[in-house]
Each structure stands twice: as C-alpha cells, then as structure tokens.
Symmetry: C2
Subunit: 135 residues, 2 copies
Amino acid sequence: MILSASSVHALRAVAWLAAHENGEAMLGRDLARQVNVPADYLSKVLATLARGGVLTASRGVKGGYRLARPASRIRLIEVVLPFEGKRAIPGCLLRPGHPCRESGACSAHPAWGRVKDAYTAFLEKTTIAQIKGGS
Amino acid sequence: MILSASSVHALRAVAWLAAHENGEAMLGRDLARQVNVPADYLSKVLATLARGGVLTASRGVKGGYRLARPASRIRLIEVVLPFEGKRAIPGCLLRPGHPCRESGACSAHPAWGRVKDAYTAFLEKTTIAQIKGGS
DNA sequence: GGTATTATGGACATACGTGTCCATAATCCA
DNA sequence: TGGATTATGGACACGTATGTCCATAATACC
C-alpha cells in the first residue's frame, strides 16, 4: 500500500505522540502497545526518527520519547523520508527514475501527473497536527 | 515507487503493444527488448496478463502476444491487479486494512482521502489507450 | 557510588519481490 | 511425421523489508 510498513508505523507513533503530549516523555514499550506495533521493531523506527530530528529520546528512569517540535511544524515527508528513501517522491510512471518534465514528458504523464502531484503535495504540505486526531 | 516493478513492467509492455499493433503477434523477446526488461522475467509477467484476459498468447512459429481487446477498453487496474493484489486499492493511511468510511474515519482521512481518491480513480478510469503514446 | 530503568545497537530469522536458468508443452511449417 | 519455434512452468539465487532476541550504554534515583 504505497507507503512501507515502517513509514506507517512511524506516522502512527508520531501522530499518537502528538495527540497525547502532556509534558512527560513516553516509553517506547507503551507507545508500541498503543499503536499496536511490535516493540522491538518500533524501537528501531523511533531511533531513526530521533536521529532525523523528529523526536528527542532520553534514557533511564523518566526517559522515553517526545516530539522535537510542535506537531504543526512537523511535515509528513520528514517522518517518512528515512524509510522511503528516494522512492518517497514519485517520478515518471512508465520510465522509473526519469524526471518526466513537461518537455518530453512520457505518454502517461497527463493521467499520472494528477496522482503524482496529489501525493507529493500530501507529503510535503501536510503536518502531523493535521492527522493526529485525538482532540 | 507506489507501483511494484512487475506492475510497471506490465504497463510498459501492454502500452508498447497498444502503440505498435499491426495485426501480427509480437514475440516475447522482442517485447522485452523494446521495453528494456529482462526477457525471462517479462515472460512471467506476460503469462500472468494472458491468464488475466488482458493479452492473448499463441505458441509456435508466428506466435507471440496480442491485446485481448482494443486498448481503449483495457483499464490500468486490470493490468496491475494481479501484481499488486489487495494493495492495489489503498485503504486507510494509519490503520492498514481498515475501510475508513466517512463515519468513524481515521484522523488522517481528510488529508489522505484526496490522494487515495486520485490514485484509485487513476487506476479504475484510465485506459491503456490514454497512456500508450506513439500516435 | 550502586542499582534499576530506559534507549541503542548488533546478530539473526523469515518472507517476499525480483531476476536467472533450464526443461517441457504446444504450435506451425516443410 | 518430424523438427524448428514459441510460450509455459519449475527450481533456484539474491537483496531487502520486516521482525525477533539479546547484550550494551546512558541516565535517574536512592
């Protein structure tokens, strides 16, 4: 389904974190239980997000994870990029890896362009605050 | 990138076939060379498309592949479905496998819905004739 | 300082997509 | 009928995503 499982895990975790911020750091295992993802796997995802500057992690008692910034200033692309790699931003449909500019665009460009634009706009313009739900 | 490599191979092959129909059947190895896909791999893809009723295959001398119907009556979803499986039609973003109806839609529904609708419309409404290029 | 607690990291297992190689079946033509 | 030609199918190889398990490092609290 378009986004990899790791990306969805990451979005779910960050969105849940945004919807339940209360000053305290949230434990990795609690977060895993809440978003229904294997704890040992989610820990890798969370570490990646911390390295990417989306979350801050702290160890020891009272440790856990927090958002590095307000949810309204975290865009989906930042959450997803480490897991999607270059595949995050789609290119030409029939010629993968091809830029598919207007001049010399491939034959599928008119139909595919609408999907491509909607998708990239979704990742680049939507913030966590817009998908977090809760309140 | 959203669609699997096999799906893109299939689309490229069918589109090329549509753009170069001339009454003759096209050999699998020629098709593979034209769309730049490994011949031994494309043959599996083409067999799947034949089983799915998108192409007709014939063996022996003068054999090869043809479109089973005019390109204007082959929708992209038919070409892609055997390779994408249930993943072909996207569902809820944060709750994979969830229908995400309007009532009780997940929190990401407003933003994600636009992408989802554009994508499913692309697959279900676009025909091979619209992406085949050539003349 | 010592101990419990938490995140971090490495090694490993598994499934699947992609791709290769080769034997076999079906078809055409001489 | 026999051989050449073509699609079909099975077995295998390989990389990557996903997931599990366990040791280690960092931190807070007593």
